[in-house]
Symmetry: C2
């Protein structure tokens, strides 16, 4: 097991290098006017994020034999959407958090107005880099943009999930509602990360559906472990305020099932996630390792 984990770690490290270089190329330098805006974007974008979503794009792409250069802009775009959502979520009117990825949140350092605009600009960059990606046919590019816009938006995407999450604070909610929140808020863009790689691979609809089921289950596993980490890890390890969910009376799995019950649920969802891989007609060792990695992650 150990050598495989080592492999996945070096695979992820390589993805991070590639994506960081691409993001640095896309976003205007900190010296470009208006400098505060570009500094704010870079502050949040280069804060040592885990880059899970772009790494997942690469993992699915590698499984389906897609060369890296066809995945790179999409991976960067999805990370920019993710970062914009973190910047906006951290705002005082939303989750009101002052620590993210181990440093001050964007609005604490640059002010609320600049943070709002930095998020807005990151959203435009995400669509721009895909629209201008010469490594992909225009047909593929428009499909990717449609996928990402739907996954990031409403009624079934990230923004919708965030809205339901905010409205549920302090309320008793049902487990179906909790799953619904997570499916939108986190699951949709994790699913999109896999689907975009699969669309670039031009696999058939059956195979695309198989990839989607695996990714959807992995997204659920990701959120369950995220909720667990919030209650079991320190702020220092997470790089964001630990225990925040309970303070803000968020709907979470541990609040529902307790810590041990949530660990059992994670193990069960992990087993299901791995089972979905059987329907993919390629060697899926890497995607298996990704599922193990999410189950066992410490941050």
């Amino acid at each position: 097991m150990m050598p495989e984990i080592e492999n996945l770690h070096s695979f992820i490290a390589n993805c991070v290098r590639l994506v960081d270089a691409k993001l640095d190329e896309i976003v205007p330098t900190a010296e470009t006017e208006p400098t505060n805006l570009h500094k704010a974007i870079r502050h949040s974008l280069f804060a040592g994020g885990k880059r899970f979503r772009p790494a997942f794009v690469f993992a699915v792409g590698k499984t389906l034999d897609v060369p890296n250069e066809k995945l790179l802009n999409v991976a960067a775009a999805i990370e920019m959407i993710h970062t914009y959502s973190l910047i906006h979520d951290d705002l005082p009117a939303m989750d009101d958090d002052d620590l993210r990825r181990g440093r001050e949140t964007c609005h604490v350092k640059f002010g609320e107005a600049t943070a709002i605009l930095a998020g807005d600009a990151l959203e435009t960059f995400a669509f721009q880099v895909i629209a201008e990606d010469e490594n992909l046919s225009p047909e593929i590019r428009v499909r990717l943009i449609s996928e990402i816009a739907r996954g990031a938006g409403t009624p079934s995407g990230m923004v919708a999930g965030q809205q339901v999450d905010l409205e549920s604070e302090g309320k008793e909610i049902r487990i179906e509602d909790l799953e619904n929140i997570h499916r939108g808020k986190t699951g949709a863009m994790i699913e999109v990360s896999a689907r975009t790689a699969a669309i670039i691979a031009e696999i058939n609809e059956d195979q695309l559906s198989a990839v989607t089921k695996y990714a959807s289950s992995l997204g659920l596993l990701f959120q369950i472990t995220d909720d667990l980490l919030d209650v079991t890890q320190t702020t220092e390890v997470l790089g964001k305020t630990a225990g925040k969910d309970e303070i803000s009376k968020k709907a979470t799995y541990p609040a529902y099932y307790g810590i041990d019950g949530t660990k059992e649920l994670a193990a069960k969802v992990h087993t299901e996630t791995v089972l979905y891989l059987q329907a993919i007609d390629r060697p899926t060792d890497l995607l298996n390792e990704v599922a193990d990695f999410i189950l066992n992650r410490r941050k």
Copy 2:
């Protein structure tokens, strides 16, 4: 002159009908969960906005013989980008305004968090409808998305202009800086409105450049008259808080040139705008009327 203006008014009224029907089709109903988010989006989108940008898409498109169905999604997308920018600009951390299009601003009615998310969602819809527009080839769609993303983003688009505008509040600025703010904040998306129609028309680069110069000059005229209306009209007529620029110490043309000097500037820019039409090798009566309309507008 009177019959022509009548024609333009009925042309604009027809554009508004078409665009409103399309927007209604794109955005989830107010009954779709999460309902508050969709109500907030609809509150701001269907508030009787002037719809100048989509009407301008149609005016340029008509001049270049493009059928309406090829323009409709782009016109709707540009209006959604415009509306998202108004929602975010009105937030307390930005311009802090509570009146827009004659009604409460989005955050006053639905809360700040929902207003932020409503703006974010509108941005995703704008790119989604173009990516999925079956009336246009994928090649054209990716060009349009690139244009709109650059026009709406940074370093030379709307978000950059808004950032410079916010940073200039209460400061002495040079006339070049003022033009720079306006070029980004308002001019870029007005230019994009014309360029997207021209790209759909598939005219040559020379003609695209001619259309761009006219639109760029019209965008400047639009902002000059906007600044004038802020100091000469009532809140009731404008549907947004009049005199706001002076209170918030915004950089404006009247602050720089006085009201009479600004009126003279508007007349001069109008003349230049109309002169640019000579380089367009089609009958440009409609675009001439648009320039007159912007010079003489009362709101």
